[in-house]
Amino acid sequence: MSNPDIITLKDVHTYYGASHVLRGMNLRLAPRSCLSLMGRNGMGKSTTIKTIMGIAKPRHGTVTIKGYNSNRWEPYVVAKAGIAYVPEEREIFPNLTVRENLLVAARLSVEGQDNWCLERILDLFPRLSERLNQWGNNLSGGEQQMLTIGRALMTNPDVLLLDEVTEGLAPIVREEIWSVIEAVKREGIATVIVDKNIGKLMMIADHHLVIVRGEVVFSGDSIELSAQTELLHQHLGV
């Protein structure tokens, strides 16, 4: 309970069947901080997020959320602990309207506060307020992504896990999403971001982890990372 970090992963090994994906993953997320997970495709970034969420269960090691071992927690328990997840696939409910997609996620924060109500989400994404009564599947890709982030914020989280949220979006929409992520960070919500835009991650995140084959090969801030030219070239293609 003395651990000040919201989330820690200690020597975590996660498998998909026989496939060994995370091989001794270590991670620490401090309150109000922003952590980026970098690496090429298939290195274990999304699996790390899924392991935190309880979607993928670790076989070895320890995942800790707010001081509690969460290795066997179901995803709904993790979510109730204040961890919100924005998946790469968006997963909008097509049979619910935009308003219902947002309201279905609404809950008070762990401390009982309602910082992110419907009105505030609509202020953050004005485009959604024009589409409130439309079905979720009638939105463009960018609007769906905004809805997914808005839905996650409606849970009033302490931590936001963002998995490739700008993937496949038009540049102007990406900029909008990045500005929202910055706004979320300013609010003091701790974030874990997986994205291919290294430049943006270097600007926004306080700390970076470079993951190669399920292991952390670099851990440091933006200045330290930019000094690692060989690593940037070899593992991130920069």
Binding site: A79, K80, P87, P94, E100, V104, T155
Partner: protein, 329 residues
């Protein structure tokens, strides 16, 4: 899928209700009984649509609750006098609701084909329990000699033995069931189960223990199904074990498919269509010798509707409503 009925749907439903109100005034006992069966089976199908169309749980054992409530009414009805509806109905609902809680607690842990098989297995267990034991007439079924009544002191306020009384009670019950399920579907609980139907993993990642939500919706469907079973037992005053069997569950599924999965009002229209067409195909004056093989024609009708109407009769009505509104969803 839509929960809030559009103006066009409301107009269509009001039209049907107006016809239903008119039927008893024809004085034709055959038609009154037939339409009572349609309404009761429509209510049964509507309850199944609540879990199939909105929660995504395709149950093949829904008749268990329908038949259990019917048998409960038989078991609590004395042979010499009528039982009071004011406590008989709650007892029947309690039994079907408890059965739904027990069966649901075990079956909603499974998914897809396994859920279908587990619900089917439970219903068949109950079928054979009543079929092979002497508890309620065995394979011959059981009779309810006196239909339930509402008595206050010396005054009999309502007697379901009266054909018109049972008819209007069934009509009010059907409307109540529709309104009740509509309110649930428009509530936060309704939004959650509709989310579960599309993406259960996402709902879990949003912080919902989906097991509890699926179980509660299963129990609600069991309660409404039991309510329909109670009414069905009052129609003929006869309760055969077949009411619990897989054929009855299959019949309800056919009604849901005919009426339109996830339309709520549609399955009630599916029941009207299925029973109405069955009566039509049995008509010797129209179909002659072919009427003896009405099941073949009925099967062809079901296949034709499924192939031609993407989401059944309810889906067709919604589509017409959308066209009239000039908007395409």
């Amino acid at each position: 899928m839509t929960v809030i009925p559009s103006k066009f749907v409301i107009i269509v439903l009001c039209f049907f209700i107006a016809i239903l109100i008119f039927v008893p005034f024809t004085g034709d006992k055959y038609w009154i009984k037939l339409v009572t069966r349609m309404m009761v089976l429509g209510m049964f199908a509507m309850s199944l649509d609540f879990i199939v169309g909105y929660t995504g749980l395709v149950s093949f054992g829904h008749a268990a609750f329908f038949g259990l409530a019917a048998y409960t009414l038989h078991l609590i009805s004395p042979e010499e006098t009528a039982v009071n509806l004011l406590w008989a109905l709650p007892v029947c609902l309690l039994v079907s609701g408890t059965a739904a809680a027990i069966i649901g607690a075990l079956s909603v842990r499974t998914r897809g084909i396994y859920f279908i098989m587990v619900t089917l297995a439970f219903a068949q267990m109950l079928f054979y329990f009543f079929h092979d034991s002497d508890i309620a007439g065995g394979s011959d079924g059981a009779f309810i000699y006196f239909k339930p009544v509402i008595v206050l002191g010396e005054l009999t306020l309502m007697d379901l033995d009266g054909q018109n009384v049972l008819y209007f009670f069934s009509l009010v019950s059907l409307m109540f069931a529709y309104g009740f399920l509509l309110i649930i579907l428009r509530s936060p609980f309704g939004r959650v189960i509709q989310g579960i139907k599309v993406n259960e993993h996402r709902m879990r990642a949003l912080g919902y223990n989906t097991y509890i939500y699926k179980l509660v919706s299963f129990i609600i469907a069991g309660l409404i199904g039991g309510y329909a079973g109670f009414l069905f037992a009052c129609i003929d005053g006869f309760v055969p074990p077949e009411l619990l069997g897989w054929q009855e569950s299959g019949l309800a599924l056919v009604m849901v498919i005919l009426g339109g999965i996830g339309t709520l009002f549609g399955p009630a229209l599916g029941a009207v269509a299925l029973l109405g067409v069955e009566e039509l195909f049995r008509e010797r004056h129209i179909f002659g010798q072919l009427s003896e093989h009405w099941q073949i024609m009925l099967g062809a009708f079901v296949i034709a509707v499924v192939l031609m109407l993407k989401n059944g009769i309810g889906g067709l009505i919604l589509k017409i409503g959308d066209r009239l509104k000039g908007s395409v969803r």
